[in-house]
C-alpha cells in the first residue's frame, strides 16, 4: 500500500462517523517500501476519526517505521470515557 492509498483511506475515515471496526490485515503494508507513507497518512485519519473502536493491522509487516505512525495514532486517539 502506498502513501496515496493511505491518504485516500484517511480522508474517508475523517468524514466517517459510523465505522466502528476496520480490518486491514494481510494488505502488504510493507514498512520498508512505501508502507511508512501509508501508515503516516492512515494514522492521521485514525486520529481524526471519533467512531473507530476496533482496528486490525495484522500480517502487514509494519516494521518499526510503520509502527511508529501507528503509535502516534494510538497516542492521539485518546480514550474518551463516559462515567455513569
Amino acid at each position: 500500500m502506498s502513501r496515496v492509498s493511505g491518504k485516500a483511506l484517511a480522508d474517508a475515515l475523517k468524514q466517517n462517523n459510523s465505522l466502528k471496526e476496520l480490518n486491514l490485515s494481510n494488505n502488504n503494508i510493507y514498512g520498508d517500501l512505501d508502507g511508512p507513507g501509508f501508515a503516516e497518512e492512515f494514522a492521521i485519519g485514525v486520529s481524526d476519526n471519533g467512531a473507530l473502536t476496533s482496528l486490525n493491522l495484522a500480517d502487514n509487516y509494519l516494521w518499526a517505521e510503520g509502527a511508529k505512525h501507528v503509535a502516534e495514532a494510538i497516542k492521539d486517539h485518546v480514550s474518551a470515557l463516559l462515567f455513569d
Binding site: 520498508d32 518499526a64 503509535a71 502516534e72 494510538i74 462515567f83
Partner: protein, 146 residues
C-alpha cells in the same frame, strides 16, 4: 450522575479503572503482528504462521509470547501501555519476539527469514517500551526476555 471526561484527568482520584465507566468513540481494540512463519518441530518442521496479537482496553493479562512482533511490536505495545491501558495490565508476557529485530537486509544472501543475521538490529522499540512502561505503576510481572 453522568459526566464526560478523560480517565487520566487529575480531578478523577480513582487510581485504577472506575467500575461505572464505558468507552465512547475511541479505539478499544488493536490487532497487529502476525507477520511471517516459523518451522514447527511438533508438526515435522512445517511452516506455521505466527498468530497476531490483540490489545484491548481493560486487559489485565496478555500472553504475546512467540508472535514475531519485532521492534515494531514493541513500539505499539509501549504506546498502548502509555496511552490506552490506564494501569489495567498487571501481567504481560512478550518473550521470544525478537524485539530488537529491524528491517530485512538479507545480509547473508541466503534468503532465510529465520536467521537473525539477515535483519538490522533496531533498539528503538525496546527503548520506547521501556520509557513508556516506566510510568505504569500497576505492573506486577513482565516477561520481556529474548
Amino acid at each position: 450522575m453522568s459526566c464526560f471526561f478523560f480517565y487520566h484527568q487529575p480531578h478523577c482520584e480513582i487510581p485504577h479503572r472506575c467500575p461505572h465507566t464505558h468507552y465512547s468513540g475511541a479505539l478499544v481494540k488493536l490487532t497487529f503482528g502476525g507477520d511471517g512463519t516459523y518451522r514447527n518441530a511438533s508438526t515435522e518442521w512445517e511452516d506455521v504462521a505466527y498468530e497476531p496479537a490483540t490489545l484491548e482496553i481493560g486487559m489485565k493479562e496478555a500472553d504475546f509470547s512467540n508472535k514475531n512482533l519485532g521492534a515494531g511490536g514493541a513500539i505499539i505495545v509501549g504506546a498502548w501501555m502509555s496511552h490506552k491501558d490506564n494501569g489495567a495490565m498487571t501481567n504481560l508476557n512478550i518473550s521470544a519476539n525478537k524485539l530488537t529485530r529491524g528491517k530485512w537486509t538479507n545480509a547473508l544472501g541466503n534468503g532465510d527469514p529465520n536467521d537473525n543475521n539477515n535483519y538490522e538490529t533496531d533498539m528503538s522499540g525496546l527503548l520506547q517500551m521501556r520509557r513508556r512502561t516506566a510510568a505504569n505503576t500497576a505492573w506486577y510481572r513482565c516477561y520481556c526476555l529474548s
